[in-house]
Amino acid sequence: MTEAIGLRGPIASGGPHGYRSTPDIGCVDELTKEFIAESQEGLDRMERCLTELEMRPDDTGLLGEIFRAVHTIKGTTGFLGFDRLEKLAHAGEHLLGSLRDGKLEVNSDLISGLLRLLDGLRAILLLIEETGSEGTRAGDEDGELIAELASLNGQVPAELPEIEAPQIALVETTRSEGVAPAASNSGASPVLQPGGLQPTAVTEKASADKTLRIDVDVLNRMMNLVGELVLTRNQMLQSGMEAANFPELARRLDSVTADLRETVMQARMQPVGNLFGKFPRMVRDLARTCGREVRVEFSGQETGLDKSLLEAIKDPLTHAVRNAVDHGIESPADRVLAGKSAEGCLRLKAFHQSGSVVIEIEDDGAGIPIERVLQKAIERNLVTAEDAAGMSEREALQLIFLPGFSTAAAVTTVSGRGVGMDVVRANVEKVGGSVEVESRRGVGTTLRLRVPLTLAIVPSLVVKSGGQAFALPQSTLVELVDIPEREFAQVVQRIGSSELYRLRERLLPMVWLDRLLGLDADNPDQSKGHYLAVLEAEGCRYGLVVDDLMSPEEIVVKPLSPVLREIGLFSGATVLGNGTLALILDIGATAARAGVKPIEEEVGEIGAGEAAVQEATGTSFLIFEDRVRERTALPLDVVERIESVPLGQIEYAGGRPLLQYRGELLPLRDEGNVLMELESARQAGEEVMVTVLICGDASVGGAQRGGMVVRQVLDVSTGTLIDQGEASHEMGMELALVKEKLTQVHREFGVKAKAAWQEVA
């Protein structure tokens, strides 16, 4: 375990141990601040242990930990002079002492009392943090609580024994960090690994936003990298732009920057366990209010997530947990009737999955009653009865995310006010995440929140419209369509004034970015046509028409001033590689501004419609030209990528063209002798690019991959194979009707693929 230090505000130049000397502008001195942070951590740990203790009353390790937390506070307050805090902590410690000595039994009243003690201690700590003093010294306010603790201990308040010497406490403070969690961990069932294991626990409330505990190793690495950055800069300044080693210096600068960025990101990463830590208590309180028995299990608390994101998903997660306890898990009686154990189980899981963090909230409750969902949705006019009848289970489940939806029969203090899952979804989507729900009747419900690792740096595509650059977050981008000017009139269809693009037999509303933003249209000679970026956000799917695509870039998001935020279309701005600024488009807001409505229910219908069309008419083909004037096609699922390769990169072995592609040697097929023609152009001194289709068979894992040299790629369309019997098989070709034109179909990549196509045929 590494040593952790507290960082308050920006990193002080005096180094990790220089904080004592830094002047403090607040009313609380450094020593007290440290005490508060430490105590809050101790209390967080105590909170977790308390809820656990209720489940395993005999665990002395847990009891020891709780005792230490309170004892440490008491000891430290003694010499800091916070009498009120000391008195309360002393009362608590006394009670815990009796508990530890086995004089008392753990019961739920006792746990509640101790939790109230915890709240009392927290309140005083907060007061100290805000005002620098603990308020009234008389201790009247705590009198009631102290009396309660004493009565739990079976005593009259006056009989409190003398306060122990506080000095011992400090020794224990340093120890409890490392030793105690291990103790509480050993012999403990897999239930609830205390999040207190991590030295990087976030302190509660106000201080949580401003301070961050980070690993000294990370800090050292950061400092080393900054040192290297300075050295590289010095070298660059000395050698100048013309120097021979300038490219090398630029490369080093690049790698140092990348490393530094990664390290800073790492420092911002906080274990999800910090967030999970507050749930056992919450669930306990909730379960008592709702009359449920709930056990909480965690896994993957060590999964790191950016601090700002952690804050952002706090509320949605809290909401989801509440929902699970109130709606998900049934009352003990019902559970027993259903043949389940009386105690419900709530599982919180966090793990990494393809560049994002997934947090699952799983309960083993009754599941979401689909017919109730549909009934409610119809009642509230969210869907029509006909629509509802045709809905699949999965589609119906999506209804719970609609605004104003709640299935709770009665409005309770906990939930059922109709502001529920839509808020959860909105909040998660705001940070670029998504929410899914799965439910099985009688078995349970799983809610899955998927959030990106970090917010600060967003991969995005830079596009141009009306002569201005805009950034589109990659997470919202579904696909890109190139619409050449000459084809524009054909592919764009109109209903009234609105334009639609027919994308694989689905009508996509088109939104012109330049018109929407009131930009001057680009130069009148729009000979090169437009690009359609198919975007999806907040359930809306639309095609954004832009003039040009620029590079995909990892952009650093900078906030906009309030006046510009008010416009509501831009989520920020960024400085591009060429030094200019680009505005980051808020995809959801743009959809709303353009009048694109979420197509929640329709998605399924259209999807089904599309499938029906496919069944009827055949498969999707990529149509291209290899021999002059001949249309040839490949089934779309065989084509992995379309690459544009400089002719010089194509090599020959034994008269056969080969291409080195991602560490693999691909044989190239050149039916139309394109290479030969291009070769002559190259010898004339031109730089020639060759279009190569990288083909593989998805069903055999791309084992037999190859390239196909083509003159140009024409289209993607569906078509029907024409069965011609044996004759065509000998040719290695089949004919198909695609868009009512005769097209040859290759079928030579992989034996399995061949079989599959014949099935289609």
């Binding site: 933003l517 001033s561 006046v563 510009l564 279309l569 030094g579 200019t580 600024l581 505005l583 009048g595």
Partner: protein, 177 residues
């Protein structure tokens, strides 16, 4: 560029009476802003326009790792857009206040003037002028109108609502559906 009022310096006897202003131009008019309220003169910069923004917003510029919103003085005065490149000044009262840029045609120099030469706004001034101007100094070359950066900050301007409707050569602010 001639620094107006330099010869007046000698006349200012009382230290506390002297104010140093940075002079700037929008069209043919001269304006002055207290130098203490100016953080930096950025000089000529390329501005990135922000579509759908209020007309008085000139655009955004990168400034020390931030995105700085700039206010167009010409648009505030209801003048035609400037044809040449514009000069950007960075304004900030103190650390806490909102930072923003002011776009003018050109920046003159630092002028030291006496407070006694300040004359209040004329009572005939229309509402916009009353909001924008903070009196004028009588200089040899004419009047130098004093501006108060606090009142020029984008958030204040949008709160006032005086400048919402003005769209002069800028981008159409009405939503285009």
């Amino acid at each position: 560029m001639r620094i107006a009022g330099r010869e007046k310096v000698d006349e200012i006897q009382d230290e506390s009476d002297a104010v140093s202003l940075c002079s700037m131009y929008a069209g043919s008019e001269m304006f002055g802003i207290d130098t203490r309220k100016i953080r930096e003169v950025l000089g000529e910069r390329d501005l990135q326009r922000v579509p759908m923004s209020p007309a008085f917003i000139a655009g955004v510029v990168p400034y020390r790792g931030e995105v700085l919103t700039t206010v167009n003085l010409r648009a505030l005065l209801g003048m035609e857009a400037h044809t040449g490149r514009c000069c950007v000044l960075v304004m900030a009262e103190d650390e806490a206040a909102e930072r923003f840029g002011l776009v003018v045609d050109a920046v003159g120099g630092v002028v030291t003037v006496s407070r006694r030469m300040l004359e209040d706004n004329p009572c005939t001034l229309e509402a916009k002028g009353k909001w924008l101007f903070d009196g004028a100094y009588k200089m040899d070359a004419g009047l130098m109108v004093q501006l108060d950066p606090q009142r020029l900050s984008p958030s204040r301007l949008s709160e006032v609502g005086l400048f919402k409707s003005s769209s002069n050569g800028g981008i159409d602010a009405s939503p285009d559906r």
